[in-house]
């Protein structure tokens, strides 16, 4: 498996190049960032060279489409999606991810129909560029009632939704935080096949009852109570060999320097991978 970083949890990084340098210096294998923005700033050649210089891969881009609001907002994002996909492809990136909120202000069944069509179109466009779409189910309980109607939040419901979308290039974004807050176990992971997993997030949780864990209150791998070694062992066991990427969402920006936060992240990664025997 490849160790990756997002900016979330690394404090105030100045720009993408600093982000790449920090990730590289700490021995990470990949970063997730906005491919299109990077190419706009450095040019295609320059962006490719940055990844080569720092010996990093681009793990995943974010889906730049507003699929949860109205139809006009959705359509307005499609040109940007083609540009984002083209940019990701130039940088060798084959993943694009979005998250699924567990409740919604729209009637659930109708919103599911709309969202199924919209994400299918996104998947079709991404698929043209050889890019897969990862859907992240979101476990924290408080979000299940944060909006008017319940939507979906379990891994199985998300897999069923992926079947309903029906495109070959759609799979899970599996975040250890949501795995934990859904009370999932190693056995649940062992039922997956590796190609069902598009991307993996690695985060840890505070020592709280599962139903009190907040979505944006994450901590660094190894510093909390999630069985991350079990999580990683199960992924390795089923043959998953791709990115495992940190995304520490916190109520306020961490105060340490990016250098220290990257080191802290690396230490956590080393600890949980080592505990997993990997």
């Amino acid at each position: 498996m490849l160790k990756g970083l997002t900016r979330a949890g690394l404090g105030s990084i100045e720009n993408d190049e600093q982000f790449l340098k920090l990730a590289s210096d700490a021995g990470f294998d990949s970063v997730d960032l906005n491919a299109r923005a990077l190419i706009e700033q450095y040019g295609e050649k320059g962006a490719i060279e940055l990844f080569q210089r720092y010996n990093l891969q681009l793990g995943s881009i974010d889906l730049p489409v507003e699929w949860r609001a109205d139809e006009e907002a959705f359509l307005a994002g499609l040109p940007a999606l083609t540009e984002a996909a083209a940019a990701a492809r130039k940088l060798g990136c084959t993943r694009c991810c979005t998250y699924v909120l567990p409740s919604t202000d729209q009637m659930s069944a109708h919103f599911m129909a709309l969202a199924t069509r919209r994400l299918r179109i996104c998947a079709q466009i991404l698929g043209a560029y050889g890019i897969r779409l990862g859907l992240e189910f979101v476990g924290p309980h408080h979000l299940r009632t944060a909006w008017k109607y319940p939507f979906i939040w379990t891994m199985q419901d998300t897999l069923d939704w992926i079947d309903a979308i029906g495109e070959p290039n759609v799979g899970l974004l599996l975040d250890a935080y949501h795995w934990h807050t859904n009370n999932l176990t190693v056995t649940d992971l062992e039922r997956l096949q590796p190609h069902q997993i598009v991307h993996v997030h690695l985060n840890d949780a505070k020592d709280l009852p599962v139903d009190q864990i907040l979505d944006n209150d994450r901590i660094y791998p190894g510093e909390g109570i999630i069985d991350l070694p079990g999580f990683l062992r199960a992924l390795n066991q089923i043959g998953y060999t791709d990115f495992v990427t940190q995304e520490i969402l916190t109520p306020s920006a961490p105060k340490e320097s990016p250098e220290k936060l990257v080191q802290r992240s690396k230490k956590g990664y080393d600890q949980v991978f080592s505990a997993a025997g990997l």
Copy 2:
């Protein structure tokens, strides 16, 4: 437009041949019945000859698949679906319909995902045989809370669902009863294109407030308060030229003879078509 009958509302008809004879004698153009059962009883040649003898067309068959329950029940119906589709095709029938209940005991969003996949598979199988799948939205208000969670019941939500299913051969079954109980107007029909309509049901409603109308309390066309002439004119206006079929669901079987009930149906059809100028 072609005037059609189902058995619903015609009392205790003995068998399909009597049904065909009654429909033909009264001057109807089509019947809806179980094509596979007819062929099993009369043979393919015999069944074709029956339709020829009575100068009738087969309007639509019912979807013989349990798509609302669990996965095993769903899969168990697929062999029967291929047989039903093959039988319908032999009799020149190109329509198959199912209804959509406005509430469900399953969580709405997850059930929508499951139902989208299941109805897509049904549509794909039917499509192989040149048959379209019509989805009937169901308007009566009492059914919106008859089960635990709301599902969908409006025409627009159903059209959005058809887009989510994403197969070229899926459209609406448009029932005047559900048009009325959804407070829809002629303008709503005029926005449709004819190929979006797979099948049409013609029924009338008692003079009750819309939110008190019960689903299985229908009456014969022309005997109630629905603006059936406006309904028919709008369908004609947009270029719909296919079947318009009666389906009188009642709390108990009507007591008149099938002969009288068919005549009553015919009289109602003549009245509302005439009032529509058709």
Copy 3:
């Protein structure tokens, strides 16, 4: 049916506004032009006002994607496709068309597989914007051997291909010139359903044996030997009510003024529509 014009056959028109004015002055109902270019020149509001001022509709845009060459060329066109579709939608246009050459330098079966996937992606993107994709089969015999391997050129093969593409919003662009050069008859048209036809071209052919008619040697409606009244009657008969648009491809630009060429086109349209009883 609505009478439409492309620029092909109208000589050297200076710009889109002149094109719109000429079409309007001559009493046409629609033009086909590049929606995106129009909006780039006049702004969205300005472009909409132009169509309103001249009381015209936008019939169809051309597919701005190179789907016949290599994969990179194909992908390079997708951002432009999203922009073109968004522009068409702003102008109320729901059609986008491309033509299918009857032979190819690529191995036929493999090229069919590639083209099926590529046009499906185009259809999916267009479908998001409510736009249909019309595929124009091309009849002239000389093109069947103009490249190394035969591809497809008949209406039936194109309908089968549309089924293989499998998207709800794909249909035929039916050009009277290709109908004629395929030796098709009124009966062939009567088998179609109106929603299978995305767009129609009206052109006439010189009095030559069918297998000697050249693709870019077309003449004005009514001046040649194609049974255009029969063609139009059949379209009307099946319920087609949309655009019928002229596209006169010629070996060299016509020398008359655009004003005279538009009048000549209008005279031809009036003659063949009148002969069709329409």
Copy 4:
């Protein structure tokens, strides 16, 4: 990887139970056979018990649909496909395969369109039952001109076709014999991802120039000139962990007893797996 057998190459085996016993006695992991026929003979429970008793898995069933001929023949096979898929599912089988002849008497491009739609429908039905469809490209050169027009025979063309079919559950049946006769190398295999491979056939070829190797002149693994150790190593390298199944097509039935032929097969498997370091 799991070592599997078909009956092809095992001489005159009396029935499925003998086949299972022979495979089990020789230490194979799986057999390919007709699930539906087995259940019809032994009942569902009896068939499951047979596989348990002999400690074998069911690798794959054959696609029971005639997708290469006319539409009626194709449709006639769909009910049997639903029954076959249901039977396979009961026995825990998740694979169904068909082969692709490299030439055809139908025009190539049109046949590709027809076959794309037909195999998509097959894949959709199989997918409902959780079964994947494997397409076997066929390499021997003599078959490329055995029928009137060339179709496809390379791995890349087949992968492109799988993309055109567009269903998530379609992949390759990779036969070492066709890999060899297509002059493919270990590098070509290393470009694959394991989920692109639905099934694998292991056969060997006589020491002949590649373009003279006949399709039904195969020999036992290890007795010929194909680099089977390299083939297996590459599959293992990319993470393929599923069935590798023998299918020895020969001009006449082998004369040795099934017992001896199974031993010969086992010896060959052991030799090439051992040479591969597996």
